[in-house]
């Protein structure tokens, strides 16, 4: 099939698309950027500050366990959910999934999380481990952008 014959294929276009970015495109960029910043303010500023870093474990959307890292440091936890088993390890500043028998292993590959708001997700087991509290989260933004 030659390219020439394509024009008969589709609905003919009324106008050819504009191929050079213009002022209106800059407006779209501005709107998306503004959305990102305002989302950042709401989501990241909403985190509790100055409280103890706590790992909140949810299974199937329901909270099952709260682990203040200071108290639980050095321990190991096992979560049974959705027919899978996740082994958690904790230190005073970090939490991570040491091993899991889920098929995707995303939760293990996420590695260590250490800031309020961050989470580890295991879709097959439907488990979320989210950190709450801790210091200002702004550093998290720098780490991602930088």
């Amino acid at each position: 099939m030659t390219l020439r014959s394509w024009r008969k294929v589709g609905t003919p276009m009324n106008t050819s698309p504009k191929l050079r970015p213009g002022l209106w495109d800059a407006l779209v960029v501005l709107v998306v950027a503004a959305l990102a910043v305002s989302c950042g303010w709401t989501v990241w500023d909403g985190q509790d500050r100055g409280t103890e870093l706590t790992a909140v474990v949810s299974v199937d959307g329901a909270e099952t366990e709260r682990l203040p890292l200071k108290e639980a440091a050095g321990t190991e936890r096992t979560i049974h959910a959705g027919g899978y088993t996740l082994r958690l390890r904790l230190t005073e500043t970090e939490i991570w999934v040491e091993s899991a028998d889920c098929p995707t292993q995303d939760c293990v590959h996420t590695g260590h999380i250490s800031r309020g708001g961050q989470s580890i997700v295991c879709l097959p087991a439907r488990v979320i481990i989210q950190l709450e509290g801790g210091e200002r989260v702004d550093t998290g933004v720098d780490a991602v952008i930088g």
Binding site: N14, S16, G22, G61, T104, D106, G111, V121, Q130
Partner: protein, 171 residues
């Protein structure tokens, strides 16, 4: 909608291309920045942009549906289906609207689509997990969509420019 053999062939080719792009972007370690399984960059949106302008919304939707379903079958992962459907159709809806605005180029349309794609994916994550934790990564993903949108816009612009000489674009 009745499709001719040629239309069907073109839809098939574009679906294959979209699938290939979906597989290719799995190699990008996005999970390092955004540890939510199922979230993708959305490079396959380039096919949606192209199909939307050349074939029109109806066939673009067909291609998108086929890509999402086949992608889930190949990955053997039904979790991924909700993510690609919600991301893909959010992008489709926004791009159909934006492409009607005369002032916007393919760049603006692609960036708007990429932002909608990522909002759709986060919504899918929140829905499938029953937890708002994924919202934490929405600002990052919106920032990322500026880059992926500009990239798909650039690819679309190059494609359209190359095809202009074939008088495909003169409708």
């Amino acid at each position: 909608m009745k499709l001719t053999t040629k239309q069907l062939t073109l839809c098939g080719i574009l679906t294959t291309l979209a699938l290939a792009l979906s597989v290719a972007e799995n190699q990008i370690p996005l999970s390092l920045a955004i540890p939510i399984p199922g979230i993708k960059l959305g490079l396959a949106n380039i096919v949606t942009v192209f199909a939307l302008y050349v074939l029109g919304p109806a066939q673009a939707v067909l291609i998108l549906l086929a890509r999402c379903l086949l992608g889930a079958v190949f990955a053997g992962n039904m979790n991924a289906l909700l993510f690609s459907l919600m991301g893909g159709f959010a992008a489709m809806g926004v791009m159909i609207l934006l492409s009607r605005l005369r002032g916007l180029s393919v760049y603006g349309v692609s960036i708007g689509g990429a932002a909608a794609h990522n909002c759709g994916q986060i919504a899918a994550a929140v829905l499938s997990l029953g937890n708002t934790a994924p919202l934490y990564y929405l600002p990052i993903l919106l920032g990322v969509s500026l880059l992926t949108g500009a990239l798909t816009g650039l690819m679309a612009a190059c494609l359209f420019r190359a095809l202009a000489h074939t008088d495909l674009m003169k409708g």
